[in-house]
Symmetry: C2
DNA sequence: CTTGGGTTAGAAAGCGTTTTCTCACTCTAT
DNA sequence: ATAGAGTGAGAAAACGCTTTCTAACCCAAG
């Protein structure tokens, strides 16, 4: 067959220290059996003479043999790896999600390959496809991608689970946070405190999660015609909230719903600096309940978005799909309100 | 050779939508050439008749052909993937690093496989080894792993780059933040403000990054015998800082060096709540310069740890090793001090 | 007109596994 | 004693690609 004792220099995925040269054949030779038998023993297949099995195990141990995942993947047709595609790994939400997914997947023996599309919607599709080829599935976070593009993309990625995006009627499973519900309830909380003029500090215009918040607010506005709601374009980061301060003051509102906690904290800081008392003069709410939210002064009223749980849930759904279970309906996580010191009664006129 | 028109049902790493069945042979058949030629064209090898090359490209495009990374990896002996092993993906520092690595690696055509060892030092070695087999290299963050274990592990992982750990004399390249220098300079800053009794809010005892901070402080203490330095065991999170407040007050110090920004913010909040004025009564410094540090009230004096740059640097070193360049000396990033409102002159006795 | 060098394309040998297929052997029942 | 079933192990094909090796071909030079 192949070279009998040697084999020549070969590519080197293998260990660099000189140990573990030939792979399964080395073990087979040492144990005096065929590669087939080694494979059977290593994979726990039954029907191998206990004596041989023992010899194989000894040989494998002595050589420190571990089957090449690459070769296994090629023949088995699965990699035990799932791709996670996010638009921006700098974003704490995606980081948290990634964490949730990684832990949950590891629990089921799967690894995670991360791909950061760097907010580039155009590249996203090709990045996702490329990544998919190395994996068994992809978990896709694509808040900015147009629905149409997404509908074209997902079939080529299957199995796929969408995060914070739905594709109704497509059968693509998804998990999402109900931002609309969360912000609607935050608004209701403010209304209950007597606020009548409220500002919404909007996120990025193109993002799906901003759109869904606006939906929630629209619903709220419909149910509360007595309340006037103004929208101020801000952004998604600390600096954006800070810069929006003057516009907020000019808007003459008694409460503001910030796009997220970062924006809220930025605003809180800017207002505090200007001598505005929160919540006496103006109430502020955030969104996400990042760990810091409870540690600002005053502590931030917000809606808890369990990103890690969302990640874990995404994996759970993926595991189900991978296991052959029909996808079922979309999962929606409802945020819990965390009422803290940054909101209070509306100031008397 | 192989089945002439069919080939039977095969494993299914491939696309699920029915397109792209046979791989390279399909393309070869459609273009009327051999697989070799297709491979050559696809990989841009020269010496192919332009007419054939064109036919191949057309065929590939028509079939939407993309070479299987798995098969390529197997034959080429490289996966274009690097493993990043971190002890806890929930930690913002590791998240930032991961981001830096991912971006930098993507720039060089490499993907990142994440592995979270979940703080389990025992499993770490096997996790690292397992992950390594699917990748070309590993970037290892192992702050808690005993040096001895690390020295045993790294040779089996090569090529490897260590983060915030060095293995002197081993030739293992590493990148690190000079925490010792950073905290020493923070201490000097406080000394310059007239503080004579300073507390260090320590992190986790076993962690290398806490040990290195203590080294820096020891150096500082040696150079400044007039200053009394007390150590208070705290931890690494927001809650840890908060809980240390009473002990800090009892210690009768005028300034506190917190292990990191999280601890500092926790402490800041707790002190503010108790009516202590920062920095008039007590000065506080953090470490890391997380985005929030500039947004607390007062803003936090801290040392900037450029985690993303560290990640990028780690990749850069890895790229060098992968490219055959000798590792060279260890890289050390010196943190920049960010002097803000949380530190001020020591109160007059 | 033949020989030799330079191209270009295909055949085939891997890369390291798993798994089917085949065969040899052992044991039981006739 | 012998056929038939049952067990266990090895040979070989397959996974999808890259690359060496070989052969065919064309053209220029002797």
């Amino acid at each position: 067959m192949t070279g009998s004792t040697d084999g020549g220099a070969a590519p080197a995925v293998r260990s660099p220290r000189g140990e573990r040269r030939g792979g399964i054949l080395e073990v087979a030779r040492l144990a005096g059996v065929s590669a087939s038998t080694v494979s059977r023993v290593v994979n726990g297949r039954t029907g191998v003479d206990p004596v041989l099995a023992e010899r194989v195990r000894d040989a494998a141990a002595e050589l420190g043999y571990r089957a090449s995942p690459l070769a296994r993947s090629l023949v088995l047709g699965r990699t035990q790896t799932v791709a996670v595609v996010v638009p921006d790994l700098a974003n704490p939400s995606f980081q948290g999600m990634l964490h949730g997914i990684t832990r949950a997947a590891a629990h089921d023996g799967y690894r995670v390959l991360v791909a950061d599309s760097a907010e580039d919607v155009d590249d996203e599709a090709s990045i996702a496809r490329e990544t998919r080829m190395r994996c068994d599935a992809v978990i896709l976070c694509a808040p900015r991608t147009p629905t149409e593009t997404l509908a074209e993309l997902t079939p080529t990625l299957e199995p796929v689970v969408l995060v914070n995006r739905t594709l109704p009627g497509s059968g693509v499973p998804s998990v999402a946070i109900d931002y609309a519900d969360g912000i609607e309830r935050l608004a209701a909380h403010l209304a209950g405190l007597g606020h009548r003029r409220i500002a919404y500090l909007a996120g990025t215009r193109a993002s799906a999660s901003d759109a869904v918040r606006r939906d929630g607010l629209a619903r709220f506005a419909l149910a509360h015609p007595e309340i006037s709601l103004v929208t101020i374009e801000a952004g998604v980061g600390l600096a954006d909230g800070e810069q929006a301060a003057d516009e907020v003051l000019a808007a003459d509102v008694s409460a503001v719903l910030a796009f997220n906690d970062l924006v809220a904290v930025g605003l809180l800081r800017a207002l505090t600096e200007r001598g505005v008392d929160v919540p006496r003069d103006i109430s502020i709410t955030g969104f996400d309940d990042i760990p810091f939210a409870a540690y600002t002064t005053p502590a931030l009223t917000t809606a808890e978005v369990p990103v890690e749980a969302l990640g874990a849930l995404a994996w759970q759904r993926m595991a189900a799909v991978l296991g052959g279970t029909p996808p079922g309906v979309d999962e929606v996580l409802v945020p819990e309100l965390r009422l803290r010191g940054s909101t209070g009664p509306a100031p008397a006129e």
